[in-house]
Symmetry: C3
Subunit: 338 residues, 3 copies
Amino acid sequence: MKLQEIVARVGGTIQGDAAQEISGVNGIEFAQAGDITYLTDKKLQTKLETSKASAVIVSAPLELDMAQVIHPNPPLAFAKILAIIRPNLRLEPGISPEAVVLENVTLGKNVTLSPFVYLGKNVRVGDDTVLHPGTVVYDGCQIGNQVTLHANVTLYHDTVIGNRVILHAGVVIGVDGFGYIPDEQGRHVKINQVGRVVIEDDVEVGSNSCIDRAAFGETVVKTGVKIDNLVQVAHNCEIGEHSLLVAQVGVAGSCKLGHHVILAGQVGVADHVTLGDQIILAAQSGVHKSLDKPGMYGGSPAAPAIPWKKSVSVFSKLPELSRKIRALEKRLKAIENQ
Amino acid sequence: MKLQEIVARVGGTIQGDAAQEISGVNGIEFAQAGDITYLTDKKLQTKLETSKASAVIVSAPLELDMAQVIHPNPPLAFAKILAIIRPNLRLEPGISPEAVVLENVTLGKNVTLSPFVYLGKNVRVGDDTVLHPGTVVYDGCQIGNQVTLHANVTLYHDTVIGNRVILHAGVVIGVDGFGYIPDEQGRHVKINQVGRVVIEDDVEVGSNSCIDRAAFGETVVKTGVKIDNLVQVAHNCEIGEHSLLVAQVGVAGSCKLGHHVILAGQVGVADHVTLGDQIILAAQSGVHKSLDKPGMYGGSPAAPAIPWKKSVSVFSKLPELSRKIRALEKRLKAIENQ
Amino acid sequence: MKLQEIVARVGGTIQGDAAQEISGVNGIEFAQAGDITYLTDKKLQTKLETSKASAVIVSAPLELDMAQVIHPNPPLAFAKILAIIRPNLRLEPGISPEAVVLENVTLGKNVTLSPFVYLGKNVRVGDDTVLHPGTVVYDGCQIGNQVTLHANVTLYHDTVIGNRVILHAGVVIGVDGFGYIPDEQGRHVKINQVGRVVIEDDVEVGSNSCIDRAAFGETVVKTGVKIDNLVQVAHNCEIGEHSLLVAQVGVAGSCKLGHHVILAGQVGVADHVTLGDQIILAAQSGVHKSLDKPGMYGGSPAAPAIPWKKSVSVFSKLPELSRKIRALEKRLKAIENQ
């Protein structure tokens, strides 16, 4: 595709050969002739000078031989060009004879049902949706348009999946929440989980992550949320629009996250916690109380980032502080004894 | 079902219209006419007054228009009524022609083998047991009565599953434990894991959790244990009766947990640790040494909850303590210099 | 097999009846007549005296009735004998009629394709490789010789798997890395992940672990690496030879680990961190900065083990230190007031 055709689709202005063919997209280190790349960091400009790339996306023009696309947001332009030139692979539409489809299933146009896909009763699947092999959809699920369910995904009954959702291999949506009441003998009696899960549009969920169905009502993952691998979202949570949950995060029951919340890797959030919009939790933090003010927090229990980092920096000096206190006590004793 | 029929099955006494039909069970906020609900918390009594529920389970009679079921344990009664009115869905019994069953398999009465279920050689499946699509059972496994294996579960060879066990989608039981011996070149030589896993009656295991087979002998999960999603139980562990392992807990090899142990979310237990009966670990704790006395512990390394919480509360004041020590040193120096 | 035949294969010298038949291998507690065992710990010598084992592997001869194999590394000899006498079970070679194989697939000799295995286009499978039921291999994957893929494994497109690799049930290799760029409206635009994963020879990966494909280039798991269950390895990581990643470890994007690194359970490593050879991280540590010097580290942020343990030991005394500071302040005040 010609550079000018690409730029017509993603915006920006061209400096250099606009008619040249761009056949690939790559990081600065990997780029070859025909590739377009982008400058992530001014420090990498010297790397760019030796790069074999044919064009680069920059936020302001540089002294360079190669063609430049000037764009206000080079990483965003890069992501969009990447999606044009290297679109994700898509299985051919069609219903495999090795798929099993129970009664009263509604399929949209151009659906792909791979071998070993199972659709329970009363399932609806939207247009242009792809189900990879081994995906199991229980009764009553509704799946939107342009959805991709990768291999070995499981949707429990009555799960609702919006449009353009991507669920990666091994994801489980709608599994029972963890709810029990002890009886007189200390045996845990199951509270049947009779709610469901609603995944809104443009959500992506990483491999082997689990989202519990609500005890009653709905667990909701709102528009544009991105969830990494091995994440746990418990029953009755509401994850706000465009939030990011990084790998191995765990969110306990009935939590409510605002929009653009970021939970870094291995963060844990206790049950019934509310996190306001644009709250960011550092990796491995533990949140036990609701947080309201946007900004970064860290530690367990989570505190605002600046005082938390100060406490952390003192932690490594604790043996020294302990020695100082002992020394102070001795010196004071000496004075008092006079 | 009439309210009096329900109460006849779960106990309690009725105040109000005992003959009315109860068609649903719901939380106070969600309840509609025809529903029964329960009072979790006295603070919610005002919500109850505006609830559309037809009946409520309470521990002592209240001033209310709606019918009341007086029961010594309202949450327990609620869980039991829920199981009566909204029982878990069950697939029809029957052997799918798309299931694969190898030689010498014994099936009980009313077994459900869904499409894409695989049973290896010498497998035994008890009465009224349901295997959802994509479940894979290796050779020699024994599965009890009224068991539910959800989609894409894997049982490695010789696994033993008791009665009324529920394994959620993606669970793996009997995978090799993590055991190696380095050779002279620093290569890790695998210690073949030749033991097995025994899951006793009434156990439930959440999605994508893993339980390792023993190196020798057995990994045992005892009666009534409930395990949440994404939990790791390593080889040769023994998890005591009615213990609860919340999501993303990891228990290393050869641990022995007593009965009614509770490990909250993301807790880690080091190998060869013994935890006595009724020990509770707060979320994200790390246990490196055996604990004997019942009660709550927290932190890493885990300490009894009260002193641990005190230390945590001082942690946030560390920068202040550090400043105070510097100030003390200055003031003392001034005195010493006199 | 005769004891002398076994010893001929694993090295060592025999003291006692070299011609006797050895039919089993077991831990000291479990060993029966006909079994060989080994001494892990001098403290267990009394247990050995009452063991029913027929032979024992020791590093130096003991006063014992049973036959002894003297070997410089008894645990290693034991692991090797175990692999001889109790080899891992292997499914019969053969292509199940219930497997689905797309066009242009190349299969080596003695391959096992179980029921419900799916091989996409242009897949290559080496000799003596076993695919258990429900394994899904996307287009363009290359799988070496003597590989075992357990049930419900998923390989995304173009994944490369070396020889003698074992992937346990539910493992996902080659899933998209977690990469997005926010647009002007705060929506996360996906960065298509166009790299791949290369797993070198003799790697073993535990159940439900996930390894992300590279954004560009390759995520590499080098020879001899052993990964436990529920581990996350993000895009563009390089895991050095013979490293060990214990259960629930998370390694963020673009990390580079040296050889013989050990990450204990639940460790988290932040993105772009480099860990030198033979670095060991204690369980639940968090690594935010690169570490170079071999040895043990712990805590979050990770510090060398000895000072970290000292700080940890002071942590439990924080309330006491706080009291001491208050007392010092009072006493000093009293002196100053004089």
